[in-house]
């Protein structure tokens, strides 16, 4: 399996909005590398003829009828928000990287 590079880790950190210092990046390359290496063992499994699985149970078509159920209410919905204003979730400005 291809080696995890420092660039890969920096890219992933960027996507996940995690600010890593150079020292942290160096450390994560090593730590994530060890984790990937450990998990890589499963790639030795004989999988020929085995369909990829995305769900542990062989069931399909679990649906619900289109019937309205009570919502939380705005107070409860906003109770976990660090900040709110005008009955809306207040979030830091978007596009700060522009």
């Amino acid at each position: 399996m291809a080696e995890l590079t420092r660039d890969d880790v920096a890219h992933l950190a960027g996507l996940a909005r995690i600010d890593l210092s150079d020292a942290e990046l160096d450390r994560m390359v090593g730590e994530l590398g060890v984790i990937l290496e450990s998990v890589a063992v499963v790639q030795q499994s004989p999988i020929e003829g085995v369909e990829p699985m995305s769900h542990p149970m062989p069931i399909v078509n679990v649906t619900r009828p289109d019937v309205v159920r009570p919502s939380l209410g705005a107070d409860a919905a906003l109770s976990g928000a660090p900040e709110s204003d005008q009955q809306r979730f207040s979030v830091p400005r978007i596009l700060d990287e522009d």
């Binding site: 995305s54 769900h55 399909v60 619900r64 009828p65 289109d66 705005a74 005008q86 009955q87 978007i94």
Partner: protein, 508 residues
């Protein structure tokens, strides 16, 4: 020269002389279900902020999404109406990105396994020809929340200090319908784009799966466009113009981007792959977001939802619920009603097909139904600033029964056309039914043939020259005499009968 986003444009004819356009249209449709895609929250438009939210659509830990069965049925019906294959088995996927319009930090969508794929929609153009739009896929996903940007100028995203988010819309079922790259439209590309969106809108309306109100955002269109130098076959770099939300804008946006791309390419430049924002007021697009690292969505199968695997029986029973395709219905009605192409087009453009259909069903002749709805009633609606005759009529409780009643008054000989017009005035002023208005205004043709004959004699005597012309065989000269007779009768006579009497007296 590097990729550029200049606003210069090339003249339309020069663009067509040098390039072939390639179009791609992505349409998002909000389904009209009672509840959201994965939870039981209501979907009512215009509710107070954050009153239609729950742990599922807010992405709270431990919440379990469950698919709305009507949304799946609607998706399959849309796929079938677009002549698509319906997947035997497909899954949802997580599209991961950080943006506060989705509180989960991912949008539940479909990725490489859409519910419907490989279809087409035949689109009729203004000249009566048909353009086949190939459909790549139609897939299920969920809408995002609505952000209000605070602190910037005029509520725009740039310069905002923070954003306020309402998640009522987050999780409303969306179907995204994606065309294949459409080549060969040439100069008709803008028209094809508009006609496709219009045809799709009519189809979705007939399916009764969405209210398809572009102005309210329940149907939204993204326009992908690129140009190929004539004689080449390699696709050029495309731009994606987002949220073009009226039929006219779709047409204008395609034309504008063709001219803008043309200017860049003609200068030897290359197109920057980016999203563009459409500006309705100025008719131009401006640079939006450039494709970047952040577009690495890391799709993976949604583990909280089980696959959707519609049985073939289900698919066939849904196929049986499809309405007659709107284009076919129009052809059938035109032939049933005996309208000319022009008459039918006018009726369609005025949005009167359903009203005329109901009126004919209620007992009017097709010609009469068309005449009154697209004549007096439409004129009055337009004069009062309404472009939607149907809702104008509904607001004033004008029904097909009124038209039937009025037509009856004319065919029974009680009213002539000009009296009928006066009756409409009264009906539209809220004075009551046609009969009531005719009674109240004392409108009734003089049925006394004696009075009419006397008036004819007087007019002939007063106009010997004209009368002589008619005697000499110039029958059209009788028109002047008829006019005078009608005047003498204060309009309360049957002009047809007046003509009969005049001709009988002068030509036999």
């Amino acid at each position: 020269m590097s990729a550029t986003t200049t606003d210069a444009t090339l003249a339309w004819d020069d663009v067509l002389a040098a390039f072939d356009p390639v179009l791609g249209l992505e349409v998002h449709v909000e389904l009209g279900t009672n509840t959201k895609m994965f939870c039981g929250c209501a979907t009512e438009f215009g509710a107070e902020p954050n009153t239609q939210v729950c742990p599922v659509c807010l992405g709270l830990p431990g919440a379990l999404p469950v698919v709305n069965e009507v949304a799946v049925e609607s998706a399959i019906r849309i796929g079938l109406a677009l002549n698509c294959e319906i997947a035997q088995w497909c899954r949802f996927a997580r599209k991961n990105y950080f943006y506060p319009d989705m509180p989960k930090n991912f949008q539940t969508s479909q990725y490489d396994e859409p519910i419907a794929f490989e279809g087409f929609l035949d689109v009729e153009l203004d000249d009566g020809s048909t353009f086949r739009v190939e459909i790549e896929r139609a897939h299920m996903e969920e809408d995002t929340g609505k952000s209000l940007h605070v602190g910037g100028s005029t509520g725009r995203i740039h310069g905002a200090t923070h954003s306020l988010v309402d998640y009522n819309r987050a999780g409303i079922p969306l179907i995204e319908i994606v065309t294949k790259p459409l080549r060969g439209a040439g100069e008709r590309a803008p028209e094809v784009a508009r006609a496709y969106v219009a045809t799709l809108r009519d189809l979705l309306k007939a399916l009764d799966v969405s209210d398809v109100k572009m102005e309210q955002g329940s149907m939204r269109c993204d326009v992908n466009l690129s140009l190929m130098p004539k004689g080449t076959t390699t696709l050029g770099t495309r731009t994606e113009t987002k949220n073009v939300n009226s039929l006219r804008s779709v047409e204008r946006a395609v034309r504008y981007e063709m001219c803008r791309h043309g200017a860049i390419l003609k200068d030897g430049g290359s197109i920057l792959q980016e999203t563009r924002h459409w500006h309705e007021d100025t008719g131009i697009t401006t640079s939006g977001r450039v494709k970047s690292d952040a577009d690495d969505y890391r799709y993976f199968p949604e583990p909280d939802l089980v696959p959707v695997a519609p049985t073939r029986e289900t698919v066939e029973s849904l196929r049986a619920t499809l309405p007659e395709p709107p284009a076919q219905r129009r052809k059938r009605l035109q032939s049933d009603w005996g309208f000319s192409d022009l008459e039918m087009r006018d009726v369609l453009n005025a949005g009167l097909v359903d009203l005329i259909g109901e009126t004919v069903e209620a007992g009017a002749t097709p010609a009469g139904a068309r005449k009154w709805w697209s004549g007096d009633i439409a004129r009055r609606a337009n004069a009062e600033g309404s472009t939607d005759v149907a809702s104008y009529a509904a607001e004033r409780s004008i029904t097909p029964a009124h038209v039937v009643e009025l037509e009856g008054l004319v065919t029974s000989g009680r009213l002539n056309d000009s009296m009928a017009r006066q009756v409409w005035e009264g009906v539209l002023d809220g004075e009551g039914s046609p009969t009531a208005v005719a009674d109240a205004r004392g409108l009734e043709l003089v049925q006394d043939d004696g009075a009419l004959e006397a008036a004819v004699d007087e007019v002939i005597a007063a106009n010997p020259d004209v009368a002589q012309k008619v005697r000499d065989g110039k029958v059209q000269a009788a028109g002047a005499l008829i006019g005078q007779v009608m005047k003498a009768m204060k309009g309360q006579a049957d002009a047809g009968k007046a003509r009969e009497i005049i001709l009988a007296k002068l030509t036999s």
